[in-house]
Symmetry: C2
Subunit: 221 residues, 2 copies
Amino acid sequence: MGTMRQQRSADTRVKILEAALELFRERGFAESTMREIASRSGVATGLAYYYFESKDAIVLDYYRRALADLGPLLEPAHRSKKLEDRVIALLEAKFAYFEPNRRFLGALMSNAADPASPLSPFSEPSRPIREFDFAQFQRALDETGVSIPNDLAPHLAKILWMYQMGMLLFWIYDRSEGQSRSRQLIKRSIGMVVLLLKLSNLPLLKPARKAILELVAILEG
Amino acid sequence: MGTMRQQRSADTRVKILEAALELFRERGFAESTMREIASRSGVATGLAYYYFESKDAIVLDYYRRALADLGPLLEPAHRSKKLEDRVIALLEAKFAYFEPNRRFLGALMSNAADPASPLSPFSEPSRPIREFDFAQFQRALDETGVSIPNDLAPHLAKILWMYQMGMLLFWIYDRSEGQSRSRQLIKRSIGMVVLLLKLSNLPLLKPARKAILELVAILEG
DNA sequence: ATGTTCAGTTGAACGTGTTCAACTGAAGTA
DNA sequence: TACTTCAGTTGAACACGTTCAACTGAACAT
């Protein structure tokens, strides 16, 4: 395989992607134009659209790349045996990985916050990334031996995931030195979240659980 | 006051606003262009920008107008003596008022969902609308005699407001006949929300309350 | 060798939100 | 009445994301 043609094409794609990320880091997402991205890659405007469906699509590619990079980096976090510690370790690993692009991610939020935008973590294009993340928390729940009522099982990983998204969002916007406030927030909240998950196992709460599951059913249509 | 000049000017402003809302209702927000809005008002493109800072600003004006209209319409809802009933009545009054623009509001969400967008209910420009709404729920709490721990008092109205925003959001996207699913959702959830508010008054929960208040403090910076 | 094909590439053009220098005419001034 | 002013108005122009008809040249076929 690998003809010279294909090689050059792949190179061009990477060249464009990297010029774009560079610009995004320098100026933010909205402030970087496709013309600028193309010209910095030494390429015509149209070619950027040959390789990427849209400006948003470039960001989706960045997510994909991050997803791939993150896989191995998350492995050490899974050594923690307490659920609290593990969630914190997962978050710290992500903080470390995204640190260089924190500002750029912040600038992205004006698009990503809209659930209808492809850039949103809730969007259809983001599904693979999202499901990779669900799996992390599913694994954390399994391996730390938190006992879970059958009816709730599929939802608890989602709850942890949403908690993580909240912390990540806070971290992105956190302007305190070294994002210390984010760490403080996590330290003070993780216990509550885990407690809530464990409480859901109490037989006492079965009726409430049923009511909540009914709600979820309506919500999911 | 009221010279002919000023009258004509005010008329022009209204003419533009109404042409815009008409178009938004017909085609949605994103699909309506400023050129079209101007031309339908029989006016040059630039004049729309003389009266409205941006396309978004036209929508903000619509919010403002809705706010003014809604004041008296909400009064009957405040006759309910049970908190549950009153929240439902407030929601139904808003449903009724916004019904003709439900589709247009839906199309707006792709912008309004971003907390950084001026159109978001959480944005700075939306503050007056938001605070008017807070006040409704504050009043509902006061007048239905729900006893509230002092430390939580300022936050409970916000919780009800957020609940309302959630229901409104669901209603906007609700494609079921006459938005019956929204009503179902409200019927099944309002009890839980009110119960939660009342539980917060139990002395038993004081430590949890303190922990949560600390969290809120970190969140608000 | 020569011709064919089509992935890769170009840049002008489109439609958008928005800006701005210039114009108009009613209201105020002498 | 004649002059000044400036709120109200105009439409061409700008920068953007995106599209597209046309061109180029490596890979393959004959």
